[in-house]
Symmetry: D2
Subunit: 462 residues, 4 copies
């Protein structure tokens, strides 16, 4: 759940890297933002420049003058794992002095069982500064035989069993790579005479860049003064594609195109499929009277789901939950622990839409269930006659090993209740609850064999 971006020889790399990261802010919260610039001969101090805050803070804390001659740059926005003490050293990009010269890396993804790999490289003498699999990946590159960077990368990454989209830079080269399964996205854009690599295509829109294509699963693109060259860390199609469908369901911005699909359309289609599968809202086998109910999505991720659902049914949706403008980041007083607080301040319901109405609440997915429970309580307190919750994706029964922040069975409300919908419904305190079927999801996807559905069906490829 991180965002990565690299630019090479674009008109104004200093501005472009920060604006790109700002467009990827949803892929990383206040846990950290880092940038690194090169003038083509060497990285520009501070190298890297990292903060424990949002992109804006990172930009504002740039010390001294804006560097004049930036040739290439790399940026990273980090979604940290809760609980771990925040530490600037964990903020990427990581920069190391290696036998290949200075080498920087930004990483999106995760490595199942990385502790074993870590022990191996420590045995070979590695001295680690962080607890991240990214540094393990980097050391693995350093311990390969080839004495040139490209060879070492191909050897290391070709054998590495983990989910990764990577951007690497030397002072004069920009490199992008996706793992052979293609878990996480990475796209190529062109701006002026230069190149951009970014996690999502919305970056290209705001920069006025042209979207060229995605980096292919298993492909390594090497960008230097000769242009872009393509290498393969595994034979093409050696492994099955395992693109993360959660990108489309929840993570990516609606204005991005991910794995070839417009995210907003995908979500609208999830809503429409829900309408086809589940039909008109009902309770105890009785259709709800349109005048006595109100249908709305949880902003912002379920807005398009609500649109698809209501358009398919010929119903109308309302904007019932007023979202706080500044709520990208949860407001929390120092020392406060109650996460419910965040929900209460983030969404305020319009009482006159709810009072004495049956609320039909749409959301993209149900992970912990606590946010939805808080919303259900909130609408009841405002006089809702009843609450139906419709989830536009199947039950999440298995944790993700590939980079989405749902890493244990324990934190999954569906897994904890062994998929018993009635129990889940009680947990979230709704009157009724419906999940889109996995078949429904597959219909929306289309080429579903190219996607990882492990969190729904437990079929892990790695």
């Amino acid at each position: 759940m991180c965002g990565i971006v690299g630019v090479y020889n674009t008109p104004d790399p200093f501005t472009e890297i920060f604006e790109s990261l700002y467009m990827l802010q949803h892929r990383g919260g206040p846990e950290g933002t880092g940038v690194l610039f090169s003038n083509s001969r060497e990285f520009i101090s501070p190298a890297p420049h990292r903060t424990l805050g949002l992109v804006e803070q990172c930009a504002n804390e740039w010390p001294g003058e804006t560097p004049a001659q930036v040739h290439l740059a790399i940026g990273h926005t980090r979604y940290g794992t809760a609980g771990a003490h925040s530490n600037k050293e964990n903020v990427q990009p990581l920069l190391r002095r290696t036998r290949f010269g200075h080498l920087a890396i930004g990483h999106n993804g995760d490595t199942p069982g990385f502790e074993k790999k870590q022990r191996t490289i420590q045995q070979a003498g590695a001295m680690l500064t962080t607890t991240s699999d990214t540094e393990v990946l980097l050391h693995d590159i350093g311990q390969q035989e080839p004495d040139n960077l490209c060879g070492a990368l191909l050897d290391s990454l070709g054998e590495y069993r983990g989910a990764f989209s990577l951007i690497l830079t030397t002072p004069s080269e920009l490199i992008g790579c996706r793992d052979p399964w293609g878990y996480r996205p990475l796209s190529i854009g062109r701006l002026g005479d230069g190149f951009i690599l970014a996690s999502e295509t919305c970056v290209f829109d705001v920069l006025g860049a042209e979207y060229v294509r995605d980096v292919e699963p298993g492909e390594l693109v090497w960008i230097d003064s000769q242009g872009l060259q393509s290498y393969w860390i595994s034979s093409k199609n050696e492994y099955p594609r395992q693109q993360c469908v959660f990108e489309q369901i929840y993570l990516a911005r609606p204005d991005s195109k991910v794995f070839g699909k417009h995210v907003d359309k995908f979500r609208k289609e999830l809503g429409a499929e829900l309408a086809r599968e589940y039909g008109h809202p009902s309770h105890n086998d009785q259709l709800l009277d349109p005048d006595e109910m109100v249908i709305f999505g949880v902003p912002d991720s379920a807005v398009f789901i609500a649109e698809g659902y209501t358009e398919e049914l010929g119903n109308s949706r309302k904007d019932v939950l007023i979202r706080h403008h500044y709520s990208g980041r949860t407001f929390m007083l120092p020392g406060q622990k109650n996460r419910d607080n965040g929900v209460r301040l983030k969404f305020n319901p319009l009482r006159h839409h709810i009072e004495d109405k049956w609320c039909v609440i749409l959301d993209d997915s149900l992970v912990r269930g606590t946010t939805m429970r808080r919303i259900v309580r909130m609408v009841r307190k405002n006089g809702a006659a009843g609450v139906t919750v419709l989830i536009a994706s199947p039950q999440i029964l298995h944790p993700c090993k590939y980079g989405i922040d749902m890493k244990t069975y324990k934190e999954l409300v569906a897994a904890e209740n062994e998929g018993d919908v009635e129990k889940i419904q009680k947990f979230i305190e709704a009157d009724s609850l419906y999940y889109l079927s996995i078949e429904g999801l597959k219909r929306v996807i289309g080429d579903h064999e190219n996607f990882c559905l492990a969190c729904f069906n437990g079929e892990y490829a790695l």
Copy 2:
């Protein structure tokens, strides 16, 4: 355009004051946030605690422990005037040591021609620390004859010709007051055994407080251990009501009830009135084909306008401009000057909704016109076949003297073009432009004689 809040004897004033301010964040940007707490005997250090940043920053920078025994508190979020060097001393609440003891003040409003008043109090010996009319107001109180605070307040405020909603506190008393014309809002809520005064009612919702009523124009409410008592700084109805309709049109949160009206409903009604006045979108006297056009509002303020407009016409609205989650605050690199930048990063359009379609863009009002021009350019760049702009309020032909940040004729696109719609349309680069008529606005308001429409019709009461 500031937000003020005061709490007295509520369950947890420290938390409540910060959460209240957070809900009023839209009434004050990064220009400043301040709080002040009392344990009923004295104000608690730091007094006041002020930052030049958002509410969250103010809360995070609270030094030391959370004070244990807070009895009353006051908070302020400031919308500063552009250009002036940011200075903590201008951040409210202001606290002064006076012959009435310690006295703090938070102010929302503005004073026409305050320089004259300022000279008067300086002649009487006042030594000012700020450039704000708030401090002038405060000194005016100090220079009255009565030797008790209540008397001095009634004498001073009863003669003061300016727009103000005020919250004042001594260490043991909470005082609220609205000017006799009622320009700016101020409401009373109850929580537990205590009271809350706040600029908007959305504060009461999230705190779980009960909305009691508004402070009346010309009323001063005095809250202490005896409960709430009401005083009048002018005879009731001595002056005509001049409530600011711009609160409903643009400024207030949609989930607030301002001057007795639900803001979301008011905006929806503006959209519906526009539908009734202007009808179906047309160009050169030809109705646009529904399949070849797309109707959308500029988020978030015009979302309800678009709902009202399309529902009235039986059309459907789309969510076309994807708003950045963190964009409450405009993202700007240090040193960047181009405000267009903010628009580009704030809104990204969904191209597939726009391409080859005629875009019908709804917005609440047109002040400078530069944001709308940028949006028009943006949709054209994404392939729009044409652009019609519909504004759900009349032309703003006159500056505001009472607290809205449009203080000069020069900054008003309608005034600069002498109300020539064609010229304004050219300025914003649209193909057609329509404003709601002033009669239409009056119909939506209903009791329009109680409202200030000076920015539309130039009829200033002060």
Copy 3:
């Protein structure tokens, strides 16, 4: 115990004001440093620039570029009263917008019974932001009748009964003034075509400026484009001079000339007088054997006293206490309360000079006695055979009302023990103790009728 400085039309006022303040650092600790610059038409933002730290921090935190066209400047370094919560608003210079335009003030001194004066100006409507007598002084100026600044100053200051050396500035004028008794110092220097006013002459040395003369007691010097003009707030010699001898004994830098006397020479003479009065170190009426004793002063203030004492006796002094280079500021871990700690880390004794020797320790004065007790314990722990303490000034039996930080009887070890030398000796845990007599001090001063000796003899003039 503050330092003040003002510069007018000097070659580089920005640098000069900070370097001057650095040379006055001993007159104000980390409690606050402030500066204010004018380009001759207006004060330059931030106005004033204040920090709660040392001069260096104040300089380092100057935001943005060095201002190019500084014409005049004022600076202040503050010795705050312990206990009060640190607050930037108390840091001087204070700047106010008055009927005379912008007016800034920096103050060194204190006002006996200022609460009464404060009540008077509050009754007249003053709204105070600080708890300092400086702001009271400022408001008193504002409440005078004359409608020009010079007149108001002469009226106000001529009647003001307090100890003050002041520097005031408007954007185009630099003003200095000493109270009629001359309690605190203020000197005039010339640099290039401009003027400098400063608390001590060491400032002139390091800036390469020429020392002209002191501002006279009761004199107000007004510096503008016409040069320096002299006014009198009281008839010359209307009041007896009451210059603070503690400046020479303890406060001022040894390289300054204060009230016409070289401070280092004055201190050396105190040591010599002690030698003449007390003679060779003895214990129980037996002279100590020079080979079995070691004589040393407490650095740095008593170094010259030790020189004077030993030279007069033909003995030699040692450097026994090694002073920490960075100890201008006491090192204290956050939360530590034990001030003894400061002594332990500030001075480390050379054991081989002390072991089995009788230590004769010289110091300039004894206020609380706790530092000396800690030193006595320290040398005993390092094997001292005995300890004689010689104090080169009389017993401090009365608090200071005029600006030295010894404001209550309770904190004075001599007052607490009613002048009983034996009891004081026991308190500091020495084997013997001798104070210079008040006659001895008067002999060293010479024109002692011009000096305030109230802390020694209780004869307060105000």
Copy 4:
């Protein structure tokens, strides 16, 4: 020129580590201070805690509560090389996750030709984060064969050709080591039931600890719950001792005992030897008249030299240069480049001691010569009749490869002038100049064969 300290099982390690570092502040300026604490099972977050400022700043910036159960700790104060961009990652202690678990290191010393060693470890796959030889040393440890830490340390350090005093820690063990030549100091102290390792013995004095002995050259001391055990990285006396005499001449505090010698006594003896060699001050073969000259040392390092010189001659010394109390750190306005500035603000001469007198200035050594030139100019400007400079050590003709900040021939005034005293005298603008002879220095040292004199005689052992 760094300071290192480690504590194990002492009464209050949190306080003791900061106080120890404060006593070693002269061995590291504002370039960086770092600490790391363990509760015996794991390092306590933040691990390590590092700042780019002085010890006081490091202590003040400790986030959150004081950790309750500190068992061992390590601290480092850094003297950075000028010019390099300051970077927290270079501040020690360095902490790495290794196959031996967490391992931290603090280093004082330098490695001649470390680039070669660096290449070797990079070839073996090392990914470096810093540019320091300390990290190279650490990686070298990681790449040894033994699978236990002690074995790897003995193998690595025994073969490492560089000057180092090291402190290493695991969460439960404290390790100290000096290179076989013994270039840099490291001493062992006992406090309560625990141990302290520190660069200088003055640390033990202020903590009330007992000085036990020095770590021997080539010795590795391993402290854990079993107590202290001694290992040898080389056979005892396998290499000649090469203790750095510059520690005694200039670097160490006068109250420390370094390499078995009291530093203050050593310096006094240097002064006395100078008196024996050079005799009474003279000019052009004429002895100077005692009444027409003044003898003084440059504070603080030459104060004892002046004492030794004048006592030997029966002359008296004066305190002529008043040193600024806060001048441990050079005061420099942001952007200022002129280092002369530092001298001007650091020392202010007492004019009445100098005027029309011949100044005999003693200093410990002459490196760049620029500070002395500034002092000579300063005394001439204050009316000196002439200036004789006496240096209590020989000419520095060769750079130091072992950790003293004089790393190139170019920066050495003696080397640049090929040892021509007359030229050097002209450079510093003195009337005469004398250096102590190398034989004189050897006489003062006594066992000079145990000391490195390479900067004087070019005889490098490594």
